[in-house]
Amino acid sequence: MNTRNTEILVGLFVAAGLAALFMLAMKVSNLNIYTNDQGYEVTAHFDDISGLKVRSPVSMAGVRIGQVSDIIFDGQTYEAIVKMRIESKYKTLPKDTSAAIYTAGLLGEKYIGLEAGGDENKLQDKDRIKLTQDSIVLEKLISRFVDKFIDGSDDKK
């Protein structure tokens, strides 16, 4: 094997290795979500966001249009303030858009689902979404169900 062929093969090997790393970075990991344009930020207040995390998706009609950028607890109102970044190409959300926290699948991750309202005005940077619906906590749901069930059985007596 002469030197030239060796060098070509090593060059191909290194290129393949770097291409694999590149593929892992771009195709497998969330890098392309990081590098997206900054978009604009809107906030929403929730009483309960359990399970929602920074970088959870924000979607509308099932399409991902942004992500949660920050979650703060407000000590005054005891609410969670969720900041989300919406990609700047989706600028036309109405002002009375409502936000709700849903679960993808039965046990999947939490995400924010937006639903458009009918307002003529559009959401701007730093605006607040006023209509929100909290995350459904399974324990609360079950306890409510159990309470109802017990009440119901009491009534019959």
Binding site: T3, L18, A20, A25, K27, L107, E109
Partner: protein, 257 residues
């Protein structure tokens, strides 16, 4: 009784002596690294035998490991109705664990043993002594390029392993079992983090590359210069580097995740 204690002490002392010699050798090799940049063709030669020749086994096993992960993961996940998460499972297990570890184990078997045998035979046939006679430092001329080549090749091999494995999992999951292609990739992308997962996987593979080539080069250089000694050194390389990889993997995982 006393004899067995003595034996224990003896093997302990031998172990630490060898460890000390290995560390001195490593320092010597690392000291030669800057000079290696001037003679990079030597490294390229070694990258061919260490990296390019290991490529086939890495590609084939990466593909099959990914395909098996796809099959096994599907069978488990489908019970929970979560087969869309197959991509996450395949990618995370490959990038975090199996990519670096299995690639390093294969690397130890394929390239490490070859390095040890080569250097051991050089020693047995007194080529290394001949170099010293000509005032050429055999460590810098023979060992350093091999070490550098292993150090550079291992992360590349692990990355290729993981990438091929993800494609293999995709082939089985999407192509054969009917998982949705978009869900496979998008769930993977939202769950795999560049810094937490991929970076740490690469760091792991770099550590394994250093350890495996270090052990291989040391065992060859330290081999008893007979045919039996070389064969024992080769065996020791594979055994010790496999143990070191698995042990270090545990420690690194405990630190990283």
């Amino acid at each position: 009784m006393l004899n067995s204690i003595q034996q224990l002490g003896h093997s302990g002392l031998t172990f630490f002596q060898r460890l000390g010699r290995a560390c001195v050798l490593l320092a010597h090799i690392v000291g030669g690294l800057p000079g290696m940049l001037l003679r990079f063709p030597l490294v390229i030669q070694q990258m061919y035998s260490v990296g390019v020749l290991s490529l086939l086994i890495i590609l084939v096993s990466g593909l099959f490991v990914g395909m098996v992960l796809g099959l096994q993961g599907y069978n488990t996940l489908v019970d929970f109705g979560a087969e869309e998460s197959l991509g996450v499972m395949v990618a995370l297990s490959l990038v975090r664990e199996l990519g670096p570890v299995v690639a390093a184990l294969l690397f130890a078997g394929r390239a490490g043993s070859a390095l040890t045998a080569e250097i051991g035979l050089m020693k047995a046939t007194e080529q290394l002594s001949a170099m010293e006679m000509m005032a050429i430092d055999p460590i810098r001329r023979v060992l350093t390029p091999r070490f550098l080549a292993g150090f550079l090749s291992m992360p590349l091999l692990a990355a290729i392993f993981s990438a091929v494995g993800v494609l293999g999992g995709n082939f089985v999951g999407v192509g054969l079992l009917g998982v949705d292609d978009g869900a496979y990739w998008s769930q993977m992308q939202s769950a795999v983090d560049l810094y937490d997962d991929i970076n740490n996987g690469v760091i792991k593979s770099i550590v394994f590359g250093v350890v495996v080539t270090w052990i291989a080069v040391f065992e060859g250089y330290d081999a008893v210069p007979t045919s039996e000694g070389v064969s024992r050194a080769t065996t020791r390389t594979v055994v010790h580097s496999s143990l070191a990889i698995l042990g270090l993997d545990f420690i690194l995982t405990a630190i990283m995740f």
